[in-house]
């Protein structure tokens, strides 16, 4: 799949933002006054900034409200609802902490649940795609959720939580790679089944339908060099998870904690780039590109 910057930024940042909101809603940290204001500002910048970035991906952003109508069937529509409900609920909860120095616990729990639900709906948009075998398994929501919880805990300054959750997220990432690398072969979809000609012999793409490129090739057929992919995987794992955990375990102060957050962010971006770039859409088979 084409690794579109807007979608990589959106899923990475909003995942972190909603993770932070989740821990605040649970009351794991319940700052008040200006400190609360600062935390909520960061969470909202990440969550809303991510959502805005994804809107740039649309052909007709001005019609975005229509995306709220099909929640019965569409995960994208459910994501729209979950994110808006989570943001509104957490804004009310945040107002309590910032202006009244009081923690309205029930509202917080509700907001935490909605924040997590948002991350699940985002993950399900990808997981549901049977056409992309690498995404169509439990490691996708596993990775999105553990990233959000681990990264959120890191942002929230929860050293113990983060040093438990981040290694878990790293494992989820490795599981996603291991399962993903054999997913296309395991899906049973091949050029033989795509053309229905497999029982007559070996099928080979002889001539594509067009001499130039087209939307399908641009959007769905992205081939990452093997060497590139290994390097990026190492960066994603080290920078996103191993180093931040080591820093936390070494007993970091504020400055080093900020470094850990930045390293984590770099790792998340790298892994999200790979998530898209390495994903093989079955339509590539028709072009002999798998």
């Amino acid at each position: 799949m084409h690794p579109a910057p807007s979608v990589i930024i959106f899923t990475s940042l909003s995942g972190l933002g909603f993770g932070l909101l989740f821990w605040m809603g649970l009351g794991v940290l319940a700052p008040t006054g200006w400190v609360a204001f600062a935390f909520f500002t960061i969470a909202y910048l990440l969550a809303v900034g991510g959502l805005m970035a994804s809107a740039f991906h649309l052909g007709h952003p001005e019609r975005a409200l229509k995306a709220f109508t099909q929640w019965r069937t569409s995960w994208l529509s459910r994501e729209a609802w979950a994110s808006v409900l989570a943001l509104v609920t957490m804004a009310l909860y945040g107002a309590g902490l910032v202006f009244f120095a009081s923690r309205w616990a029930v509202l917080g729990y509700l907001g935490a649940a909605l924040s997590l639900a948002t991350v699940v709906t985002t993950a399900m948009i990808y997981t549901q795609m049977r056409t992309v075998p690498r995404w169509h398994n439990a490691t996708t929501p596993g990775m999105f959720l553990s990233f959000s919880l681990g990264g959120g805990a890191l942002l929230a300054g929860q050293v113990t939580l983060a040093s438990w959750l981040l290694p878990f997220a790293g494992l989820a990432l490795v599981a996603h790679w291991v399962m993903g690398d054999r997913a296309l072969a395991g899906s049973g979809t091949t050029l033989a089944s795509a053309t229905g000609l497999g029982d007559r012999g070996t099928v080979r793409s002889f001539e594509p339908p067009h001499t130039g490129t087209n939307y399908l090739l641009r959007e769905f057929v992205h081939v990452v060099g093997r060497k590139h992919s290994v390097t990026l995987r190492v960066i994603a794992l080290l920078s996103g998870f191993v180093l931040p955990v080591l820093i936390l375990l070494a007993g970091a102060g504020h400055v080093l904690a900020a470094v850990a957050v930045l390293l984590h962010l770099v790792g998340v971006f790298a892994s999200r780039w790979l998530f898209f770039a390495e994903a093989e859409h079955v339509v590539g088979l028709y072009y002999g590109k798998r």
């Binding site: 052909g59 229509k66 069937t73 979809t189």
Partner: protein, 247 residues
């Protein structure tokens, strides 16, 4: 509405005959011609006369080489447009309700004024049957020429899809698969019409007829040499040449 109908009254679709398709791309051009001038936004071409031309099409023709275990390879031309699937994943993922499957005839359409251009439906289609138009910013796909098949302003013989009407080889057929007596149903039954990527669970309506076997060589027996030993001048020439050639 992006819920799929339980059942459609009719199942309109195409039969594509891989045996007779000659790969001329006439259906590609007639499809683009009709659909760029009629229903919905025109099908954009970008940099059409430049170095990097690209365009939106609703129907494209691939070519594949099939190499059997023994014998010569076979070339198969392979037209591909929306298969109007019964379990269309492109419809259920749509957040706006722009993508829908019609209850009356099963045609899968996009309501372009509701489409936000998120592209998710194209991700969900395993066949590459949907293309985002770069100029209009909305999703384009085969409409089964819905503006021809019911169009009373057209002469009756033109009330079929443009690609079917234009195919010089008769490789595309249009009809109702819900009616077991229709031509398309009979063709599918007779020739072993198949689904593409059945494992994707989309239940395509369009069927593909496999190429016929090429092992019956009608002419070969007639072309066998009838006389092994030639006589007279030709016989002498044959022997002499064989001697000279050392054979």
């Amino acid at each position: 509405m992006t819920s799929l109908p339980e059942k459609t009254d009719r199942k309109l679709g195409l039969v594509i005959d891989l045996d007779t398709c000659v790969g001329c791309h006439a259906c590609v051009i007639s499809c683009k011609g009709w659909n760029t001038e009629n229903y919905g936004a025109p099908l954009a071409d970008t940099d059409a006369y430049g170095a990097d031309p690209s365009g939106t099409f609703l129907n494209r023709v691939h070519s594949y080489e099939v190499q059997p275990e023994s014998g010569p390879a076979q070339l198969v031309h392979f037209p591909k447009s929306c298969l109007h699937c019964e379990d269309a994943p492109c419809v259920t993922v749509c957040p706006t309700g722009a993508s829908y499957k019609r209850v009356e005839d099963g045609i899968v359409l996009v309501n372009e004024s509701d489409c936000i251009g998120c592209g998710l439906c194209a991700w969900a289609c395993p066949y590459g049957a949907r293309e985002m138009d770069p100029t209009a910013g909305v999703m384009k796909k085969c409409t089964l020429c819905v503006d021809r098949i019911y169009n009373e302003n057209l002469p009756e013989e033109d009330r079929e899809p443009a690609c079917v009407r234009t195919c010089p080889a008769g490789a595309r057929h249009f009809g109702d698969f819900a009616d077991p007596e229709s031509d398309v149903s009979k063709l599918t039954a007779e020739r072993g019409g198949m689904d593409l990527m059945p494992e994707q669970g989309t239940k395509p309506v369009n069927k593909y007829l496999p190429p016929r076997d090429r092992d019956i060589d009608v002419l070969a027996p007639l072309l066998e040499p009838v006389a092994e030993d030639s006589k007279g001048f030709l016989g002498w020439l044959d022997k002499t040449l064989s001697k000279v050639g050392g054979a």
